[in-house]
Amino acid sequence: MLKVSGIHFSYSQPVLSDLSFEIGNGELLVVIGPNGAGKSTLLKIIVGILSPESGSVLLDDRNIASMPRREAARLIGYVAQGSSIRFPLTATEFVLQGRFAQQRLIGFESDEDVTEATRAMELTDTIGFADRPVTELSGGERQRVMLARAIASRPRLLVLDEPVANLDISHQIRMLDLVRNLISEGNMSAIVVTHELNLAAEFATTALLLKAGEMMACGAPNEVLTEDLLQTVFETELLVDASPISGAPRVTLVPPSRPNRERGI
């Protein structure tokens, strides 16, 4: 349902080179790679915030770049990395913003908007703080509200940039579990950027490994999260075996040698 072909992008230096991959219906693609690999840039290009120098992004066979902005906004739900908001909008107001692309220029929310926002908040378990300002919510609660806003328009594709970055392990798991449920029930797919390799291994249907703007591997997690590939890309020693619970790849860090201790200091 999503087909990315030949994406090139640079600022003063090349950031992304010749990226091509596909995602099918109901898939959860996790994009992993070192800092500066271009993961966020890739997401912004898919969403339509940035324009690639060459290449195309097709959603359900339609080119994102040639769609009207509102149309693309309706079809793609985006949660940016590390948002900070200084105005005390209530969670309800925040989620209702996700209906913008569906609304007329001036006016107030329709019943349909309210119903859809309610549904989004129920699915993300955020209905409990509908009347609280988002500035007062905890990190995890705010992430879920942002997710609710992203799904309020019933998009075809969810694009999440580091959605678990500041969450504790329990919330990390709950968040990705939520995303997985949303896409399985909602005729959606998702692209998620994260640094949590084990989380990625557990929840992804497909993994894409990015280094310096180039795609190093794309496929099932156990094909991509291999010791060789990961050690090459992250330039550090890692041990990869299978999780005793699920069989998914399990990445264990190998502590660097400690010369000070050996010298008895």
């Binding site: 915030i49 693309a72 948002s83 908001i85 909008l89 107001e93 913008f100 692309a101 209905i127 509908a130």
Partner: protein, 351 residues
């Protein structure tokens, strides 16, 4: 996880968590009533006593086009001094408050005021230049002030262009730099000005609603148009407040909205400052106060700020011209003295 359209949930959302049309109408009606009451009081009181009967005659005569049965002095005082001043207070208060609200949303900073990008300082340069060099030109000062404002708006916008369009931080930086530079020009010109000119320009710099009403009609139409343009972008501004990239992803044409709102807000600020000088406090505090009471939805904040700003300046101006009559106090001081405690009260109530 199943979707359940429970009536409770829908009611939960549809309640007072967001701005509805009904709420907006109620809020604006109350504020409009406040403005009307204050306008009536402002017309009825002044340094010279004019009876309510005479005032009514003058107003009715003005509407019907006939002449009123009053002395020429009363006619001039009400029709040419007081009523224009009432209108100016409402228009200037409204313009500055809406511009403040717009800037706060645009720059994602609840503490922005309409002067933050240097518009008022540019206007001041124009006003001082015309006061010192071209005093004999009719409506010279407001015209020069407006030109100064427009030039500043253009310069700041051009300076604020980054590699990929204008980022808010870059715009703020451009505005602050321009403001500082222009301020030093203003101060230099002030040191060079002689006694009486100095007094005149000093009063303008603090804000003054007693000016010539010749341009008032034009300014009113201009400001109203600007407020309408900003209001049409109110919903987009709501999204912009949460982040520019997020707004793009949600379907906002961010670049167009930013340019439009920036221009409209800056131009109505320039127009207000051109006729009334640099009245501080209103543009920062009114939108802030509205947000404390009514939430951050710009569909409410913008029109409510317009009315509340008008009300504040009406009250302040009435006090400024009656409390030590026939002398007049400076309106900027009065608006801060009235608005300050109100704002502090609101702040404490909500925290």
């Amino acid at each position: 996880m199943n979707v359940t359209d429970t009536p409770n949930a829908v009611r939960h959302i549809a309640s007072a968590n967001r701005v509805t049309l009904a709420q907006l109408v109620v809020a604006l009606t109350l504020l409009a009533l406040l403005v009307i009451v204050l306008a009536v009081i402002a017309t009825a009181v002044g340094s010279e006593h004019v009876s309510l009967a005479s005032i009514s005659k003058i107003i009715i005569a003005g509407i019907t086009g006939r002449s009123a049965d009053v002395t020429p002095e009363q006619q001039i005082i009400i029709a040419e001094i007081r009523l224009p001043r009432v209108l100016m207070a409402v228009v200037v208060g409204g313009a500055l408050s809406v511009a403040g609200a717009a800037y706060q949303a645009l720059l994602r900073n609840p503490l922005a005021d309409p002067y933050i990008l240097g518009v008022s300082t540019g206007a001041a340069v124009g006003a001082i230049v015309s006061t010192v060099f071209a005093e004999s030109i009719p409506v010279g000062r407001p015209l020069a002030a407006f030109i100064g404002a427009v030039l500043t708006i253009t310069a700041v916008y051009a300076l604020g262009q980054g590699r990929r369009g204008e980022a808010s931080e870059r715009l703020i930086l451009a505005g602050v730099i321009t403001n500082t530079f222009l301020s030093s020009i203003v101060i230099f010109m002030l040191t060079a000005a002689s006694g009486s000119r100095l007094r005149s320009i000093f009063s303008w710099l603090i804000g003054d609603l007693s000016g010539e009403p010749r341009l008032l009609g034009l300014v009113t139409v201009f400001v109203m148009a600007g407020i309408v343009v900003i209001y049409m972008n109110a919903r987009a501004l709501n999204l912009l407040m949460t982040g520019e990239e997020e707004a793009v992803a949600l379907g906002v044409e961010v670049r167009r909205v930013k340019i439009t709102v920036y221009l409209a807000a800056s131009l109505i600020t320039g127009a207000a400052v051109a006729v009334s000088g640099v009245i501080g406090f209103v543009g920062l505090v009114i939108p802030h106060a509205i947000r404390l009471v009514g939430g951050s939805d710009n569909r409410l904040v913008i029109p409510a700020s317009a009315l509340a700003g008008g009300a504040l300046l009406l009250a302040a101006d009435t006090v400024a011209r009656t409390i030590i009559a026939p002398r007049e106090l400076h309106i900027g001081v009065i608006s801060a003295l009235i608005g300050g405690p109100v704002f502090i009260y609101l702040l404490r109530r909500t925290s």
